[in-house]
């Protein structure tokens, strides 16, 4: 339980660990579920894995643990025959049509060869009727025991948890499939079970509102078990839900923070990045077997499965303090920062020359281990920068940045569109082109039909006609629209120029040091600004923002004396927030009625506290590393509030587009 001594030191934003929401619990939970699921099948077994689950699972468990629980061999779930030596075969996969078909094929093939196997299918995170149907159609349903492995939030960092659904955005908005919303609600419910009820739920966006309603409904349905599950959380002060549709601009931009850029240019999955083996081999060669070597090899549940020369490296701040410093910085300053670290390390190494006495020497040797790991991580990050840096200097990269900035400033949109056309002519990567085009379409809003047709034609001729479905998908989502806007598109129109003023989305160059807009070199992500509306009003009100004080009858507000104010909803920003599409909501959750002492509980929670509280920010449909960086920055500006960022998955512009391109 929190708070024995409210820390009074004002200089450091040190946070009392007892007040921090510990996400390790979630990992343990995921691990336990997996073990339970595995143990439900007796004897040695062969595990067949959906490749898209490898990353998430790697964060939760190790190969050794699987072996302990009887897993004999592991395979990817892929086309072709499956050779299994054990009787038991366990499939672990997402409920997707392709996997179900593959499994059916395996089963049929085995029956033909009269091999006897016992099949178990673990569907992640829930059983789905689609999978059942397919298996039934294929006539193998009777042979397979279907069960589920409830994999929910996976901690990527101590303040970042993800469901790792790669396709959430597409499913929800393009396919109209709301499974992801349901699963999110389930996962949030689990959070509530662990940490207590979210005292308040605030959000923006139609699907965010759906999620909230679902959450409430599930909550009232869930049987009342432990009394703890229905009291208000003491560590979490509110849940903020935002759906991706509300802010499409942000993910379309190129991320400019270190971690964001690494994701953009090299791709990160489940916190892992693939690096040339040489970069990682160097540190392993030096005889420091522990930290980084272990981190790089323990990744994911792959045994002899990987063929690539590239190695996966788990980039996390947990064991890499240097990365903690670097990840959220704008890339332009990372180089300088690295060299500073290099100098510091160097001088620490030099200090051994000053060590004269035995105790001094001893002290130095004691530090040596730490220094070595630091040197390694420095080497790693310098290497990474060397890879990333040239890519940020290419003409195409800078051109697209320039177009982005101009579009945001609404500066001569037509010229930007013809600049995009030039990029097409040069055969630049299609994802880059489409990102820019979508952005142009959103800010303009709409592109002139003639121009649009021309551009589509150019794109199809350059990249192939098979991109037509993608273009159509983007149009259905109104990410690409033509003028005049259709009524549906009209309703989704973002009043960007008004928002730019009221929420200060664009800032001057010199201001960026003390504002979240530094992450995009001058543009503040709309999504994060919204969070700021609720959690850090001061920062926004300092600017010429509409002041609508005294507007809403906000039910609860008692100012603790910490500098971060309590969550009081949208107060002061109702007009702005209502001015663009997406439902706005703000609900105060009372502890469930029934328990007699619940009201007393509620009061105690509402009382002013000196403690640090955590605000959970949930991105439905994914968030970018840069948004994460912006939120972290915000937290660093406030005393008494942390953010726990939860998301359906980490996305970036190109993955968003590619996702929409893949059919089925």
């Amino acid at each position: 339980m929190p708070s024995t001594a409210p820390s009074i030191d004002s200089s450091k934003p040190e946070i009392d660990p007892s007040q921090v929401v510990d996400v390790g619990v979630l990992k343990e939970l995921a691990k336990r579920y997996l073990v339970d699921a595995l143990n439900s099948v007796n004897g040695p077994k062969t595990l067949v894995l959906d490749p898209s689950l490898a990353g998430p699972l790697g964060l939760v468990t190790e190969v050794a643990l699987l072996k302990q629980h009887g897993v004999d061999k592991m395979f990817w779930l892929e086309p072709g025959p499956l050779q299994a030596t054990t009787t038991n075969i366990i499939y672990l996969c997402r409920p997707q049509v392709q996997w179900a078909k593959l499994i059916a094929e395996h089963v049929k093939q085995h029956t033909k060869e009269s091999q006897n196997h016992v099949y178990t299918l673990l569907v992640v995170p829930r059983e789905s009727s689609v999978v059942k149907r397919i298996l039934e159609d294929e006539g193998v349903l009777g042979d397979i025991h279907i069960s589920e492995y409830n994999l929910q939030f996976i901690p990527l960092e101590d303040d970042l948890i993800s469901l790792e659904y790669d396709h959430a955005f597409k499913e929800i908005w393009l396919d109209g499939d709301e499974t992801a919303v349901y699963n999110s609600a389930q996962a949030l419910l689990t959070l509530q079970k662990i940490y207590g009820l979210f005292p308040r739920i605030i959000g923006k966006g139609d699907h965010a509102a759906k999620l909230k309603n679902l959450l409430k409904r599930l909550q009232s349905q869930s049987p009342r078990q432990a009394p703890g599950s229905h009291t208000l959380s003491e560590k979490i002060d509110s849940l903020f839900i935002i759906d991706r549709r509300v802010d499409m601009v942000t993910p379309l931009l190129t991320q400019l923070t270190y971690q964001g850029l690494v994701d953009e240019l090299m791709g990160m999955t489940s916190g892992h990045v693939e690096l040339p083996a040489s970069l990682l081999a160097a540190p392993t060669a030096q005889q420091t077997p522990s930290a980084s070597a272990a981190a790089s090899t323990s990744a994911a549940g792959r045994t002899a499965l990987t063929k690539e020369k590239k190695k996966k490296h788990h980039l996390t701040a947990a064991n890499d303090t240097l990365f903690r410093d670097l990840r959220d910085l704008n890339f332009s300053v990372v180089g300088a920062n690295l060299s500073r670290h290099a100098h510091r390390l160097d001088s620490e190494y030099q200090s051994r020359h000053q060590a004269k006495t035995v105790p001094q020497l001893k002290e130095f040797v004691g530090k040596l281990g730490g220094l070595q790991t630091e040197t390694q991580s420095l080497k790693l990050h310098t290497g990474l920068c060397e890879i990333v840096d040239p890519q940020t200097k290419t003409e195409v990269f800078n051109k697209s940045l320039e177009i982005q900035q101009n579009l945001l400033a609404l500066y001569d949109v037509n010229a930007q569109i013809s600049a995009i056309e030039d990029l097409v002519a040069q055969g630049v990567d299609v994802a880059v082109v489409l990102r820019l085009l979508c952005l142009a379409s959103i800010v303009a809003p709409g592109i002139k039909p003639k121009v649009f047709e021309n551009l589509s034609r150019e794109i199809l001729q350059t990249y192939g006609y098979h991109y037509l479905p993608l273009l159509l998908n983007l149009s259905t989502l109104h990410l690409l629209t033509t003028q005049p806007l259709s009524p549906a598109a009209q309703s989704l129109k973002l009043p960007l120029s008004a928002l730019k003023k009221s929420l200060r989305l664009l800032t001057e160059e010199n201001e960026t040091d003390n504002d979240i807009s530094y992450v995009y070199s001058g543009y503040a992500p709309l999504s994060v600004r919204l969070v700021q509306c609720v959690a850090q009003k001061g920062a926004l009100l300092a600017a010429p923002a509409p002041v609508g004080e005294e507007a809403g009858a906000v039910p609860k507000a008692k100012a603790p004396k910490t500098r971060s104010h309590p969550i009081v909803g949208w107060k002061g920003f109702e007009d702005v927030v209502a001015s663009f599409p997406g439902e706005v909501f703000d609900v105060v959750q009372a502890p469930d009625g029934g328990a007699t002492d619940s009201s007393a509980n509620a009061v105690s929670v509402l009382l002013p506290r000196e403690d640090t509280t955590t605000t959970v920010v949930f991105f439905l449909g994914g968030c970018t590393y840069t948004e994460v960086a912006a939120l972290r920055w915000m937290a660093s500006q406030m005393r008494g509030r942390r953010f726990l960022i939860a998301t359906t998955g980490i996305i970036k512009g190109s993955s968003l587009i590619e996702d929409l391109a893949t059919s089925l």
């Binding site: 055969g427 589509s456 150019e458 001729q461 350059t462 990249y463 098979h466 479905p469 089925l664």
Partner: protein, 117 residues
Amino acid sequence: LALEEAVGMDDPAAKAASIKAAQKFFSEDKGSAFEAKMMDENLRLLAFQQELEKDVDHKVKFVGLSVSETIKLCLVNGLSKKAERVKKDWAVPDKRFWYIKLQALTQLGDFEGLSQF
């Protein structure tokens, strides 16, 4: 729209059939005249590519490439007349054509050709 997904097929005949189906689908809908036109272009391209492959005795694979890629491959393989024809028939703007030509010449290491620009 589901017909679109069939485009990924390897066999040219099956591919042509599914594109045709898609084309028909689009042409039935007035709102998607553009899509229908594009599918039409796609069919023509496919036919042309098959013809090209025949011309070079199936040494080079054309089927499945985009218009730009086709032009480039033509240029690389010294079929500049064919490339010009693609440019004309598919109304490829000059700007893009020159970019493609530039890339093709660089790939060939044809510096004489390059300096002729």
